[in-house]
Amino acid sequence: MQRSLYIDADKCTGCLQCEMACSYENEGVFNPAKSRIKVFTFHHEGRFVPYTCTQCDEAWCMAACPVDAITMNRQTGAMEVSEAVCVGCKVCTIACPFGTVNYNQDSGKVIKCDLCGGDPECAKACPTEAITYVDADATGFDKMRAWAAKTDNATAAN
């Protein structure tokens, strides 16, 4: 079974535990600046939104890469960057419609979420379950359940 990162922004408090877990796993230091997942703060709206790669099946980054440095991990479904092959041309960063693949000046390569090989650290570090790692075919089930509950109430009220 493949799983996907599922993000429920309403539960996010903006603590950046995910960014620290991600950067520690990938860079060996606590460094939000080098995290593959980012939490964006919309101050005046009072909202915090974690955002990262959704691992497109027909991935723009993979299609755009001229040296085939981005390949799919068949087990996890993650699009992974091979550091050894990447030449740092950044074409993938232009191709990605969501901006979730980015250049890393320190290494001269691009970085993106690789689902930590199937055990994503961000989801484990999140204290509020704003980031969970769930069945890829059922990411909408929680929302469906919530709406289903409301539908039942409406029926009962009639």
Binding site: T13, G14, Q17, M20, A21, F30, N31, H43
Partner: protein, 618 residues
């Protein structure tokens, strides 16, 4: 390790910057943040120096755990000599700039001297420069933040700044970082402005590493995050209601100071409580609280993000205040609410916004307004002084007017900006100032919570709840329940809380973790991260050393045991209602025992024996 082992020294007089190795011998004894920052202040300044003179220094200090994944590990402190109290000041803040500074590679910044013209410090990793702030002087914190983000085009840059209140000489001006987190107390913002330093803007992309045993650290951090999640206070109460969870609780036990501490219970408490912040309002159906929010790395997330009712008189013609910003914490809601008798939650949310926007400590501001209201009621302050405004207890209009005046440093706001002690002295009634060492009380009446009387009287930075929060034990039963009306055992309780808190404040983590954590939970995380062996005993010893260092500084600054006192109201006028009815503070019983436990002389001096025990500087 865990320290970057580097500090940035900024000589504002010369406009020069230099990098220095952190004194790791001192770090071994004083840890970081509050302790280590104070050690540097003690070494480098004369305790008798003029707080707003060029000889005072201003120190921004992180702790060894700042910027790591430990829960709440984003704290920094500002250490200096306070213009409000004349004592050592150490104001602790969360938000994100502390971790950013660490990630840029710096444990500490020491500002010395005074710049001839307004400047700001811009740090990008190892690059640091002083930049003219002529264009920022006279601007609020919020405007400064916006202008700097526009100028540098870096949305991730973290900013700490002073507002118009500090520039105008308000003695309880705060340094605000990340728009609504504050190094709030004792006028550290006033010192910053006195040096013509408007802002510090930081971008750090190096990250925090140097963890002694990273695998053990990550395991310990995960375990202790779970402890916070499983605890009723840190896992449920604080995320849901914030510190405002306390408003109704403290009112019920008769320890909610009201109307400049004339009363101990407030009829309007429920209307300004955490619960009230969740109630949908009539105008738009939205509650005051939009969401809770976390500081860097914090898995508790007690922060409040709120809006003001757009139809409320305070903002109806000011759309710039219609969005979300930092909402009410308990102390602020108490000072600007119960203590002034104002039960209008939109009015106090507005004044809270103003305190953040222009950098004022809401506790000192609210308590000073409360004192002014009492003097107004007595006819000592009149509309001639205020220019027409009637400063009546309970008047939301008067409160919001006061906030605008102090923020702008205008008119009667200049007088209110002096703080309660100087205000009451000016009008010939020093006994009405609810302060210790010149700093205003927070939100717990020492007649109904006896330990807090000793806490306030002996706090090294003037009246403060965060130096030994015995409310945890006396009200919440953490770590064990003690009787809030009893004085027995409180001297030992206060000392234990003071020492442990000094430790926590020096590590880079938030004292709110201690609702769930003891040093038994903290020590393994410190030990996994930091060079050397860090047992509970060593941490406690460091805490006691830090406490004595601060005390020694204050004594050298001219304080004596006579300053460990409370206003006569709390010692002579009994609580007039609730469970504490008939009680006064039993400070006279607790204080001698406290001195004894500290090993100090009968008049409260740090003895040579204690100085030697902790190897305090001469």
């Amino acid at each position: 390790m865990a320290w970057t082992k580097k500090l940035l020294r900024v000589n504002l007089t010369a406009g020069s910057l230099s990098e220095e190795a952190l004194n790791m011998e001192w770090a071994a004894d004083y840890i970081g943040q509050r302790g280590l920052g104070t050690r540097y202040l003690v070494a480098e300044t004369d305790p008798k120096c003029e707080p707003l003179g060029a000889d005072n220094k201003l120190i921004f200090a992180t702790g060894p755990l700042t910027g790591t994944a430990v829960s709440t590990g984003g704290r920094y402190s500002v250490i200096t000599k306070s213009p409000l109290t004349g004592a050592v000041a150490c104001s602790n803040s969360g938000g994100f700039i502390g971790a950013e500074l660490k990630s840029a590679g710096w444990d500490m910044i020491i500002f010395e001297g005074k710049s001839p013209t307004p400047v700001m410090l811009h740090i990008v990793n190892e690059q640091a420069e002083l930049v003219s702030a002529d264009d920022l002087w006279g601007k609020s914190v919020w405007e400064t933040d916006r202008l700097l983000h526009d100028k540098y085009q870096d949305p991730q840059m973290r900013i700490a700044a002073v507002g118009r209140a500090a520039e105008g000489g308000c003695l309880y001006a705060a340094i605000i970082n990340d728009l609504h987190r504050a190094a709030g107390r004792s006028g550290v913002g006033t010192v910053m402005a006195s040096k013509n330093l408007k802002a510090v803007a930081v971008r750090g992309t190096r990250g925090v590493g140097n963890i002694k045993d990273a695998a053990r650290f990550m395991r310990s951090v995960a375990e202790q995050k779970q402890v916070l999640a499983d605890n009723a206070v840190t896992g449920q109460g604080l995320p849901k209601l914030g510190t405002q969870v306390l408003m109704n609780v403290i009112n019920e036990i008769g320890a909610l100071p009201t109307n400049n501490m004339r009363a101990v219970q407030f009829d309007g408490a429920a209307k300004i409580s955490g619960e009230a912040m969740l109630e949908p309002r009539a105008s738009d159906g939205k509650p005051n609280l939009t969401t809770n929010a976390a500081c860097f790395g914090c898995t508790i997330a007690c922060g409040r993000i709120s809006t003001i009712d757009k139809t409320h008189f305070s903002v109806q013609n000011k759309p710039q205040y219609w969005g979300n910003s930092g909402g009410l914490e308990y102390e602020a809601a108490w000072a600007m609410g119960a203590d002034t008798g104002v039960d209008d939650i939109d009015a106090i949310t507005y004044t809270n916004f103003i305190c953040n926007e222009d950098g004022m400590d809401p506790i000192s501001f609210g308590a000073t307004v409360a004192a002014a209201m009492e003097l107004f009621e007595m006819g000592v302050i009149t509309t001639k002084d205020t220019g027409g405004m009637e400063l009546k207890f309970g008047s939301a209009k008067a409160l919001t007017w006061c906030a605008d005046q102090v923020a702008a440093g205008a008119g009667f706001g200049k007088v209110l900006g002096l703080g309660s002690k100087r205000l009451c002295e000016k009008y010939g009634h020093p006994e009405l100032s609810m302060t210790v060492k010149g700093q205003e009380f927070p939100a717990y009446d020492p007649r109904g919570i006896q330990g807090m009387g000793l806490t306030y009287a002996t706090s090294n930075r003037g009246a403060c709840h965060l130096r030994s929060y015995t409310v945890a034990s006396e009200v919440l039963g953490i770590p064990e329940k003690t009787d809030p009306l009893a004085t027995d055992g409180k001297a030992g309780l206060v000392k234990a809380f003071q020492d442990a808190t000094a430790t926590v404040d020096s590590l880079g983590i938030c004292v709110f973790t201690t609702f769930a954590w003891t040093l038994d939970n903290i020590a393994p995380q410190v030990d996994a991260a930091c060079d050397g062996d860090w047992s509970v005993e060593r941490l406690l010893e460091a805490g006691e050393r830090i406490w004595n260092l601060e005390r020694d500084y204050n004594m050298k600054a001219g304080f004596t045991g006579a300053d460990d006192n409370l206003p006569p109201r709390l010692l002579k006028e009994a609580a007039n209602s609730g469970p504490a009815k008939g009680k006064v503070s039993g400070l006279d019983v607790m204080l001698p025992e406290y001195y004894q436990l500290r090993g100090w002389s009968k008049d409260g001096q740090v003895t040579d024996k204690v100085r030697k025990q902790f190897a305090l500087p001469a």
